[in-house]
């Protein structure tokens, strides 16, 4: 058996776990580990410019690939800088392992230099955490961390490593465990067959059914199964913000996204349905609007791997705890049986009603005058220019909703956004992570001039590693989503949401970082310039698009109402 130091064991264990990329930033408590990285070439390390970006990049990598993202930071400020990214991953159930250096174990608790109680600080936003007690435990701790992060409902796991546990002078016999057993952690796999049968019976007898599918379908790699299942039944499908791509958007059966900024047809179909099959969803408040008025006539069938998600906000009539894949497989078998018949007549009537809602064309863009660009038109342009083939990461704000509404995702893992935490600053580093995972793919970040400034320093990382990310900035010279709320709820009092006079010249800024900048101000130039920018395949291009600052995102749920209560424009509501 080989003799390795704690730091070497850590890196070797990552390799043995199949890790190829590590996102991180060095510092005192992590230096033994960094030395171990230097002495090998199996695990590559990407040096970001801020630890928050390391977590978001690892997160983007994880969402795009399905593999866990891995982060390495030092103690104290390195660890606390990673917190926002850990919380982001936690809220969206993204598999991630974050290794943080810690002061020597003999100094813990003494307010030592750069000491932060990382396990304590991160506790509410991790699936689990470990503090390495003995160097020889490192391989097993790594094994457990990855097992926990990637199974069941995935999530971030922190490993806090005191510096003395990585001491190069102390060597141990290294062996990576092939299996892991934890008596207190088991993963639910198959759903209860009786419950599944019952759910399918209700589903088949439905007159106005709808399939409401979310991020769990993507995380559980069940998009194809879901698509088969939905097509077999011919039922309408809606996706959550997290679930976009779980069912192909161009499909006739797709009603678009539901919820706060969901389509007229999706939200109405939810409200008037008699059976809702919720799959890999959590009935989030951004979906349900007022819970008491939620889908008043519907039986709720809820499939999720996390029992705590079921009946948390909306009571399920048929709860099914299990992996979406295994449950969908069983359901598919049941609906394929000869005697399994859907109520065609009712379904046709239901579709007629839905087509009536769809005819409203709630996402139709009314062009502005004087060659002014509407933000929606920018996303439509990106969709055209990339042929719908891009990985699209987004930040948070109006641009995020426009991206969700107007880029028609037809595959899972293409839409990378912070849905649960809503973290501005997420998009650009996430797009770097995606680009590193898929060097030949188009990785776009759709952002706003507000959000992009929250992790703009990563332009340097992109130069260092030659990452040709395309940044499309919907520049409305304001914190648009905040402004929209101020328009709608605060009489247009723009408290601290505008800053036109102090915006940087983004073209010059990215040029200073060694990249290409493009500014687009006229609708008549939009497609042309966008095409040119995307043609620069091996360069990072920042496409700064001046858009109509007065635009709002619609539809928008009316607070306190049911799902069918929406504003459809500045002047129209349901």
């Amino acid at each position: 058996m080989e003799l390795l130091s704690g730091g070497e064991m850590l890196i070797r264990a990552l390799h043995d776990e199949g890790v190829e990329l590590l996102f991180g930033y060095p510092g005192g408590a992590a230096l033994h580990i960094y030395d171990a990285i230097f002495n090998q070439d199996k695990v590559a390390h990407i040096l970001v410019r801020h630890e928050q970006a390391a977590t978001h990049a690892a997160d983007g990598y994880a969402r795009a690939t399905g593999k866990p993202g891995v982060v390495l930071v030092t103690s104290g400020p390195g660890a606390t800088n990673a917190i926002t990214g850990i919380a982001t991953a936690f809220m969206d159930s993204v598999p991630m392992v974050v290794i943080s250096g810690q002061v020597d174990s003999s100094l813990i608790g003494s307010d030592a230099f750069q000491e932060t109680d990382m396990v304590g600080v991160s506790r509410p936003i991790v699936k689990h955490s470990f503090m390495v007690q003995n160097a020889e435990d490192i391989p097993m701790v790594v094994k457990k961390a990855f097992h926990i992060a990637t199974t069941g409902r995935p999530g971030p796991v922190v490993i806090d490593v005191p510096k003395d546990a990585t001491d190069p002078a102390r060597k141990f016999e290294y062996q990576y465990p092939s299996t892991v057993k934890m008596r207190s952690y088991s993963v639910p796999s198959k759903g209860h067959t009786g419950q599944i049968k019952k759910a399918v019976e209700i589903l088949l007898a439905a007159k106005r059914p709808i399939i409401y599918a979310g991020g769990g379908v993507i995380q559980g790699n069940a998009s194809e199964l879901l698509t088969q299942f939905a097509r077999k039944l011919g039922y309408p499908v809606t996706n959550t913000l997290m679930g976009l791509g779980a069912f192909p958007a161009p499909d006739k059966q797709f009603l678009g996204m539901l919820g706060m900024h969901g389509t007229y047809e999706a939200n109405n179909a939810m409200h008037f349905s008699d059976v809702v099959l919720g799959i890999g969803v959590r009935f989030d408040d951004r979906v349900t609007n007022a819970v008491s008025k939620f889908c008043p006539g519907a039986k709720i069938l809820h499939v999720d791997i996390d029992p705590a998600s079921i009946s948390k906000t909306v009571a399920a009539d048929v709860p099914i705890v299990g992996s979406v894949t295994s449950v969908l497989e069983e359901m598919l078998e049941l609906v394929a049986q000869a005697d399994a018949k859907v109520d065609r007549k009712s379904l046709d009537l239901w579709w007629q009603q839905i087509e009536g809602w769809r005819a409203k064309q709630c996402l139709k863009v009314t062009p502005a005058e004087n060659d002014v660009i509407k933000p929606q038109q920018v996303v439509e342009s990106v969709y055209r220019v990339t042929g719908g083939e891009a990985y699209v990461s987004s930040d948070v704000g109006q641009h995020q909703m426009f991206a969700a509404q107007y880029y028609h995702f037809d595959k899972p893992r293409r839409w990378i956004n912070s849905g649960g935490l809503g973290t501005m600053g997420f998009g650009f580093p996430a797009a770097m992570g995606v680009q590193l995972a898929f060097p030949d793919a188009i990785s776009v970040c759709i952002t706003g001039e507000g959000s992009i400034q929250m992790c703009i320093q990563e332009l340097a990382t992109c130069l260092q590693y030659g990452l040709p990310v395309k940044i499309v900035c919907l520049n409305n010279e304001s914190l648009g989503m905040v402004r929209q709320w101020q328009d709608m709820q605060y009489g247009g009092r723009y408290s601290n949401s505008t800053y036109s006079e102090s915006l940087p010249d983004f073209v010059k800024l990215v040029e200073a970082y060694g990249h290409v900048g493009v500014r687009i101000e006229k609708l008549s130039e939009l497609d042309q310039k966008m095409t040119e920018a995307f043609a620069l395949k091996d360069r990072l291009v920042f496409i700064d698009v001046a858009v109509d600052p007065s635009e709002h995102v619609y539809p928008m749920a009316i607070k306190g109402g049911s799902m069918k209560d929406m504003y459809l424009s500045k002047t129209e509501r349901t």
Binding site: R123, R183, K312
Partner: protein, 163 residues
């Protein structure tokens, strides 16, 4: 409703803080909490009393079960069970009060475990409401100090909480 949840917890550093943190993080309340090692030194047993409607209790038990350090749990109040709490208290005991307090203590099957010329130290065990009744019977005025352990419990019959 009041529930008593008993938990077998990995005897790992930080495990207790995860349980306690869960309660504050999700705005669940803890009425009392007791914790001690079990006959198996790798496990601690924790007993939490909390208050909530069925929906809330369901969420609490689900979230507790999700904690990696929680090995097993049972809501004792779902079946018949035995609950006990121990209380130590000091009461002012002078003059005629001395006999009166002694008598009340006997009625409640408590014991006077320490005596000075002016103070009795009393030990009492039982369900929480019995301890409450004792305090009411003694009268607040004479109570100098109270130390209660919080509830611990076990189910009746042959059912056991073990691995």
């Amino acid at each position: 409703m009041r529930h008593i949840i008993s938990i077998l917890l990995e005897n790992e550093p930080g495990a207790l803080s995860r349980v306690v943190g869960l309660f504050s993080q999700r705005n669940y309340n803890i009425e009392s909490l007791t914790v001690a090692p079990t006959e198996d030194h790798t496990l601690s047993r924790l007993t939490i009393t909390t208050i909530g409607d069925d929906r809330k209790i369901e969420q609490i038990t689900k979230h507790l079960n999700k904690l990696i350090d929680v090995v097993k749990l049972v809501d004792l109040t779902e079946g018949s069970h035995i609950e006990r709490e121990l209380m130590l208290l000091k009461v002012k005991a002078t003059g005629a009060q001395r006999a009166e307090i002694k008598r009340t203590t006997d009625i409640f099957r408590g014991q006077i475990v320490d005596v000075t010329s002016t103070v009795y130290s009393i030990q009492l065990t039982g369900a929480s409401d019995k301890l409450d009744s004792f305090l009411a019977a003694i009268g607040n005025a004479s109570v100098l100090e109270v130390a209660r352990t919080g509830v611990t419990g076990i189910s009746r019959g042959e059912k056991v909480l073990s691995l």
